[in-house]
């Protein structure tokens, strides 16, 4: 909630400045989803859904959480042998 206040203030300050700069003809200002980046900068959190709607087989969405909240994360799996058949071995990274 503290950050909400901070960001609302930031929007108000920018608008106030805008009005003062154009004090001759102040225009009504509308803040919406499209132009809010102009006032408070880029979003802090981006979606981490980087596969589209139809990923290759072997990709599944998991859920994780820590002290800062939760997030979705992909689990990717592929086969890692092509020329010769493998032996059912498993390699884990990340």
């Amino acid at each position: 909630m503290r950050s909400l206040k901070k960001f609302t203030n930031r929007i108000a300050e920018k608008i106030a400045f805008q009005i003062v700069e154009n004090s001759e003809h102040p225009e009504p200002v509308k803040v919406d989803v499209i132009n809010i980046e102009k006032y408070i900068g880029h979003p802090l959190y981006r979606s981490n859904k980087f596969y589209g709607v139809l990923p290759p087989p072997g990709v599944v969405i998991a859920l994780a959480y820590n002290d800062y909240g939760g997030s979705i994360l992909y689990i990717e799996s592929t086969k890692s042998s092509h020329i010769s058949e493998g032996r059912g071995e498993l390699k884990v990274t990340g």
């Binding site: 087989p57 998991a62 859920l63 994780a64 939760g70 086969k79 890692s80 059912g88 498993l90």
Partner: protein, 147 residues
């Protein structure tokens, strides 16, 4: 993650052998191919066993060559015999899923009470599926494949 991946691999092999014994390719896949499992985004801490059913699903999806729908997310520890065990962070995980546009959530049956305690505004637009066994997960992911 290493241990949950190993458990998932063993269980996925057993699962495929049991339910797909006529499908030679699917049955042989995990036995013969080398696999690589990757958990992208190093920034997110992800130790703990709660990805068990997800890793299993990734392997089964790969072996059957069937993609998993992307509006489903799941969490749950898996035992060697495919029982789905309780996990933590139900509230955080549910909120993350809602934020990312997930429609169906698969949770362990043992976490049903944690979901019941969540306020309704968090659960809006989500459908919850509570599972006890891995085969329940499979039926939700691939409703058109009969076990």
């Amino acid at each position: 993650m290493k241990e949950s991946s190993m458990i998932a691999q063993t269980y996925a092999k057993n699962f495929l052998n049991r339910y797909f014994f006529q499908d030679e390719n699917a049955r042989r896949f995990l036995e013969t191919q080398n696999l690589h499992i990757h958990f992208p985004e190093g920034a997110v801490k992800k130790d703990g066993p709660s990805a068990g059913i997800t890793i299993t699903s990734a392997m089964v999806s790969l072996a059957l060559h069937k993609p998993v729908p992307q509006d489903i997310a799941m969490t749950g520890e898996i035992s060697l015999n495919g029982k789905v065990l309780a996990i933590g962070g139900v509230k955080e995980k549910t909120m993350a899923a809602a934020r990312e546009g997930i429609k169906k959530l698969i949770f362990p049956k043992a976490n049903e009470k944690d979901v019941a305690e969540l306020p309704d505004y968090i659960k809006e637009g989500l459908s919850f599926h509570f599972v006890e066994e891995y085969s329940d997960v499979f039926k939700i992911l691939f409703p058109d494949i009969k076990l």
